[in-house]
């Protein structure tokens, strides 16, 4: 009886094993297209041998040793880190190609084309300085340029803002992922209850979440006893067992003064060390790349404003001023104009001279030289001392055939204001014959300037600049035909300037564009490289964990045959039982 019973047990174990095997195969085949699925494999072993006759043993069937996920944990770790790199690079590449699209270079609608048109207009003005139409063209081209620069900056700023909101979103998402992982940790530990690795589905799920989290931030994981994983960001733990410290963001000002989100641990607001992942990519793109480009275009615009105004401010249009107020306020009228911290302006005044030319009703012109002292006697000129110097030189009560009837003052907003006191008097500005002797103080204060603004954000043609006040020449004699200033501005297209360390305005712009293009190309290349690594690793993972239908078909046939065999065996044993039962009859 023991024999028959034992034989039935063998058959039963075979049926169970084959059935289970088919189930595993079926499950594998069902998940063949599930990307995160790791195929399972059933491990069988013969059961304990039993003594059929003394000294002789036979097996008692088959037992299922294990049904295991086919995974390489080390490989999964590498995939996680590679996917983090890839995500980071992808975000940067996308951001930079958006920036490139905003600049729209190599087309007809870009800053460099407008810049060429702008300088072209000035060069043309040199040859026909008295042509008011050409003066208007200069203004128009100036507006075209500044509008485009402003639009470009706004476009890039929008990209930065968009990246910033993505950062905020990603932080929230990563935070949710961290909570889910902490929760899964708890479930896995509970469900496995000492049977390590038995909760395949939960683990697959957790692997997937870890992969997702890793796409957001650079994490490292360590599995601890009981099946939970501890997740670190840099050297600080983020998730320990069922607890996530949580992540959030705080507002921080960047180099351009924009308020941006900084990623921190929620429990203590300390910054996270981000080295890869989508968040790292977003932050790098937002701060270093896009932020850098905004800084770059601001610096460039500041240089352009300074260079053109320095020339333009020391010349005259077809009309003189009856009053003029500088565009730029200083923080402290007693601060040296050479001290950018003191004035709060982005430019420093240089040592040199300028002239104020006062014209009376009958056309007499009297020039007064104002010397701006910077770095000579230790006490540099301030806005207040400039006003004093102008008033001393143009003292209305002073001697001379012309009443020096103009007066300078500091207005309520700490700007330079100059006005003619008598009706019919006008004044203009001019520079010394030797250009090297000129001071840029009027440009710094925004007097008689062409451009207004202090960065690309507010870069514009001075409001109220009409063709009469476009400066074409540096002439105290009121000769409308002098076009030397227009010529000098026009030649800035190709002559080196101090603001850009001897590079010309165009060359400087082109080289900045070159840097952006190079950065964009580097981001593309980095992404491609990281993606190839990721794909290689993914292929490796697929090779280990992926489901092959052919293999599963073979398994299916094998288990089917095993099942048929076991069933047949039970039927034989049954017949044998029948035979024995017949003996009883």
């Amino acid at each position: 009886m023991g024999l028959i019973n034992g034989a039935l047990q063998i058959g039963k174990s075979g049926l169970t094993a084959a059935q289970s095997g088919l189930m595993v195969t079926g499950n594998n085949m069902a998940n063949a297209a599930t990307p995160t699925y790791s195929r399972q494999q059933m491990y069988l072993a013969p059961t304990q041998y039993t003594e059929v006759v003394p000294g002789k043993y036979t097996g008692t069937g088959v037992k299922i040793l294990d049904i295991r996920r086919q995974v390489d944990d080390a490989l999964n770790g590498r995939i996680r880190s590679a996917s983090g790199d890839s995500a980071s690079n992808l975000v940067q590449q996308q951001a930079l190609s958006r920036v490139e699209a905003v600049f729209n270079e190599l087309t007809e609608q870009d800053i460099s084309s407008r810049l060429n048109d702008f300088f072209g207009a000035w060069t043309a003005l040199q040859g026909k300085p008295n042509d008011s139409a050409q003066r208007n063209i200069v203004i128009q081209q100036g507006q075209n340029l500044t509008n485009f620069v402003q639009e470009t900056r706004t476009g890039i700023k929008n990209i930065q803002d968009d990246l910033d909101s993505q950062v905020r979103f990603q932080v929230d998402q990563a935070n949710a992922l961290a909570s889910q992982i902490a929760d899964l940790n708890r479930q896995i530990v509970t469900s496995e209850a000492g049977r390590s690795g038995s909760s395949s589905a939960l683990r697959d799920q957790r692997d997937d979440l870890l992969k997702q989290l890793n796409e957001s931030i650079n994490i490292t994981t360590r599995e601890v006893e009981g099946g939970s994983v501890t997740v670190y960001v840099g050297s600080s733990p983020l998730i320990q067992y069922s607890e996530s410290r949580g992540m959030t963001y705080v507002e921080k000002e960047d180099i351009n003064g924009a308020k941006l989100a900084q990623v921190v641990f929620a429990d203590n607001n300390l910054p996270m060390e981000l080295t890869s992942g989508k968040l790292h990519g977003l932050i790098t793109a937002r701060d270093t790349q896009v932020g850098g480009i905004i800084g770059d275009i601001d610096t460039w615009a500041r240089g352009v404003i300074s260079e053109i105004n320095s020339i333009h401010s020391l010349g005259r249009g077809t009309n003189g001023y009856t009053e003029v107020t500088g565009l730029n306020s200083v923080d402290d009228p007693d601060a040296a104009l050479s001290d950018m911290d003191g004035t709060g302006l982005p430019w420093a005044a240089t040592n040199g001279d300028f002239y104020i030319n006062v014209k009376d009703q009958t056309g007499n012109v009297s020039s007064k030289k104002i010397h701006v002292d910077v770095g000579m006697d230790g006490s540099d000129m301030t806005l207040n001392s400039l006003v004093t110097a102008i008033n001393a030189a143009t003292d209305p009560d002073g001697p001379g055939p012309l009443t020096r009837n103009i007066q300078a003052s500091v207005d309520g907003a700490n700007r330079l204001h100059i006005e003619a006191l008598t009706n019919g008097y006008t004044f203009t500005f001019s520079g010394p014959e030797n250009q090297a002797d000129a001071t840029n103080v009027l440009a710094v204060l925004g007097v008689n300037s062409f451009f207004a603004g202090q960065s690309a954000a507010d870069f514009s043609v001075r409001t109220g600049l009409t063709s009469d006040y476009v400066v074409a020449g540096n002439s105290v004699e009121a000769l409308d035909g002098k076009g030397d200033i227009a010529g000098r501005i026009g030649s800035l297209a190709s002559t080196g300037v101090a603001s850009f360390n001897g590079q010309s305005i165009s060359d400087n712009y082109v080289s900045r564009m070159g840097e952006i293009a190079t950065a964009s190309k580097a981001a593309q290349d980095n992404y491609t490289a990281a993606d190839v690594v990721l794909q290689t690793l993914e292929a490796e993972r697929q090779s280990i964990s992926g489901v092959s239908m052919d293999e599963e078909a073979i398994h299916m046939v094998t288990y089917q045959r095993a099942f048929q065999g076991s069933a047949r065996f039970i039927s034989v044993v049954n017949q044998m039982l029948d035979e024995i039962m017949a003996l009883v009859r």
Partner: protein, 661 residues
């Protein structure tokens, strides 16, 4: 096809791996195909700078270069228009002047045939018409600008006024940028073509201004006459020394401030350089004074600089303890803001601003008041805005003032108003040093064999042989040194001209007469017209200025011809005719110059076109797609995609399951 590289080093192929690989390769193939398709449809190799940053920056640089070349072409075109207009105005002018000359010859020939009866009245309207036509040629316009006005081209440069032709233009050329390095002038001024301004440079004397703290270094000729080459100097008091960087200095005051600040910069008083820099008492140089008795000042150059030498304070071996370093004259040039008090004047005693001066141009005479002038600018303003059609300006060398007559056909004289203002400023038209040969607009004083007889009020008379005099001073000295008469000759104290004062206090009159009939013009030539050759006792015989300034050009000559015709003077007509003939030649020469300038512009234009073509070709090489290459690549990619799809579809489709029944 870089992106199509796919990992294949695997031991097992799962279904997802196969489909993923297929997907990736189809995707990358499609992306590459799209790029090539885009290149083929736009004809451009590079759509975004990041596709090839190096090429992109080259393209952008070339774009801006191309734009500049185009602008240069426009500028050259405009300049050529000007030149063409100038050429046409000159052709017309040549015809007009030729016609005037012919009219003069015709008038003379008619006169010679009519046996001494001279009536030129019929010619006057013709010449007047020519003058008017010439004025309108002088006011020719190109693109809204008066082409002969120089930089003052918004107002007509020539105007018929006060019986003359006034030139309001400016002599500076208009310039256009025709290449990155070159600005080419494309105007010729009214002076060159029409001789519209008096060419005589009057302010020959060096007014030698003092330096002040505000004097720009660029207005100094420097002790070596090389200007001021800015750099660093080493100042020592014999014990301590300091290097002073003067490279950013703009004015003399800056230099002094820099030296004084650097000298006292050391924290410890013992380490300071005990020297004070200042402008020397005579106002011509810098001086350095030791502030301690033992100070022995030296000033050295840094490296191979010239700064100390240019500033006139280079001293390698000190003069000894306590000795002041008196610099050399740094020779300041004049500028508009030079204070009147800084001017030494021709006599060296400063400028007489109290009396002022008298300028006469044609019929208009004005006294120029200098009493309120504080700067040179004020003096120039006073002269320029007196309504005299004269222009005062600083000469090119920055040493003196030039006063130019802008009114063709009118004589300008500059004299004193009882003081020395005109002399001090060096702008008196007739001075003691005037060469007699230069007077009368260069025709000279014909004083060969000239003897004049002067009779004073006491009746005493003497012959004065003035044939040996070559200058006004010699002429005056000859009169003053003549024994037997009691007169004082000199230049007029008010106005200008030779003045002979009667000192005899007799009962008669002071008179001047000619002695030799063969030189009967001499008294006229000395400025004493008939009727102005005697004056009552104690009076002064005042001659006219014999060295007036008049523009020596077409308009003056046409007006002279017209006046000669009015006077019915064959001599004058003949003289004016000769001058007009010379003008005719001059105008033809000018036309030649314009022609060669136009030619050079044409060459420049061709050159720019070549450059433009080269830049365009280069840009095309970099930017434009090579269609053969692109099409080949397209074909390759298309084949690859085909293979991909075919093998992929088969591999994905087949499974063992197909064979299980």
């Amino acid at each position: 096809m870089t992106s199509a590289v796919k990992p294949t080093n695997v031991a097992r192929v799962s279904m997802l791996l196969r489909s993923n690989l297929l997907m990736d390769s189809v995707r990358s193939n499609s992306v590459d195909l799209l790029k090539v398709q885009n290149q083929l449809s736009t004809g451009l190799k590079i759509a975004r700078p990041s596709e090839d940053p190096g090429a992109a920056t080259s393209i952008m640089n070339l774009d801006s270069l191309i734009e500049r070349y185009k602008q240069y072409q426009t500028n050259i075109g405009q300049a050529k228009d000007y030149m063409d207009q100038t050429d046409s105005a000159l052709s017309q002018s040549i015809k007009l002047v030729g016609n005037a000359h012919t009219q003069a010859l015709d008038a003379l020939s008619v006169a010679s045939r009519s046996g001494g009866i001279v009536d030129f009245d019929s010619y006057i309207p013709i010449i007047d018409g020519i003058i008017q036509s010439m004025v309108s040629q002088g006011n020719s316009v190109c693109r809204g600008s008066y082409i002969f006005g120089g930089q003052n081209n918004t107002v007509p440069p020539f105007e018929q006024t006060n019986g003359g032709v006034l030139f309001r233009g400016n002599l500076s050329e208009l310039e256009a940028r025709v290449s990155a390095e070159t600005q080419q002038g494309f105007t010729v001024n009214g002076q060159e073509v029409f001789g519209a301004l008096s060419s005589q440079v009057m302010g020959i004397e060096d007014l030698n201004p003092d330096i002040t703290a505000a004097t720009p270094l660029s207005d100094l000729n420097g002790a070596l006459q090389e200007g001021i080459r800015k750099g660093s100097i080493i100042v020592s008091d014999g014990t301590n020394s300091v290097t002073v960087d003067l490279s950013l200095c703009v004015t003399v005051g800056d230099v002094i401030n820099k030296i004084n600040t650097a000298a006292s910069a050391a924290t410890l008083p013992a380490d300071r350089v005990k020297v004070t820099a200042a402008i020397s008492a005579d106002g011509t140089s810098l001086s350095l004074t030791p502030t301690v008795p033992a100070g022995n000042i030296t000033v050295n150059e840094v490296g191979t600089g010239y700064t100390a030498r240019d500033l006139g304070i280079h001293l390698t071996v000190g003069g000894g303890a306590g000795v002041l370093l008196a610099g050399q004259d740094v020779d300041a040039r004049l500028s508009l803001t030079t204070p009147v008090t800084a001017l030494h004047g021709v006599g060296g005693a400063g400028i007489d601003t109290i009396n002022g001066l008298i300028i006469t141009n044609g019929q208009t005479s004005k006294t120029i008041d200098l009493s309120t002038a504080t700067t040179l600018d004020d003096i120039l303003n006073a002269i320029n805005h007196a309504g005299l059609s004269v222009r005062a300006e600083i000469n090119n060398a920055g040493t003196g003032i030039n006063v130019l007559n802008q009114l063709s056909g009118s004589e300008m004289t500059i004299g004193e108003n009882g003081g020395t203002s005109a002399t001090d400023l060096g702008i008196r038209s007739l001075t003691l040093s005037t060469l007699l040969a230069d007077t009368h607009a260069g025709a000279g004083l014909h004083n060969a064999n000239a003897i004049i007889r002067i009779t004073d009020s006491s009746g005493a008379s003497a012959n004065v042989d003035i044939s040996t005099a070559t200058t006004m001073k010699e002429l005056i000295d000859l009169i003053n040194n003549t024994v037997g008469i009691n007169v004082t000759a000199g230049l007029a104290a008010v106005g200008n001209g030779l003045a002979i004062k009667d000192d005899a206090a007799g009962a008669g009159t002071l008179s001047i007469n000619m002695v030799q009939e063969d030189n009967y013009h001499i008294l006229d030539q000395l400025g004493f017209a008939v009727g102005n050759r005697s004056v009552a006792t104690g009076g002064t015989l005042k001659g006219n200025d014999i060295n007036p300034i008049m523009p020596d050009g077409v308009f003056s000559h046409l007006i002279a011809l017209r006046d000669a015709l009015t006077h019915n003077s064959t001599t004058e007509v003949s003289a004016a005719g000769a001058l007009l003939e010379a003008d005719h030649t001059n105008l033809i020469k000018m036309q030649g110059i314009i022609g060669s300038k136009t030619q050079s512009l044409t060459t420049r234009k061709e050159h720019t076109e070549e450059n433009l073509l080269a830049a365009n070709t280069l840009r095309s090489d970099i930017r434009d797609v090579d269609f053969t290459e692109a099409i080949t690549r397209y074909q390759n990619l298309y084949t690859a995609l085909q293979g991909n799809l075919k093998t992929g579809s088969q591999m994905v489709n087949i499974s063992l399951l197909d064979f299980l029944s």
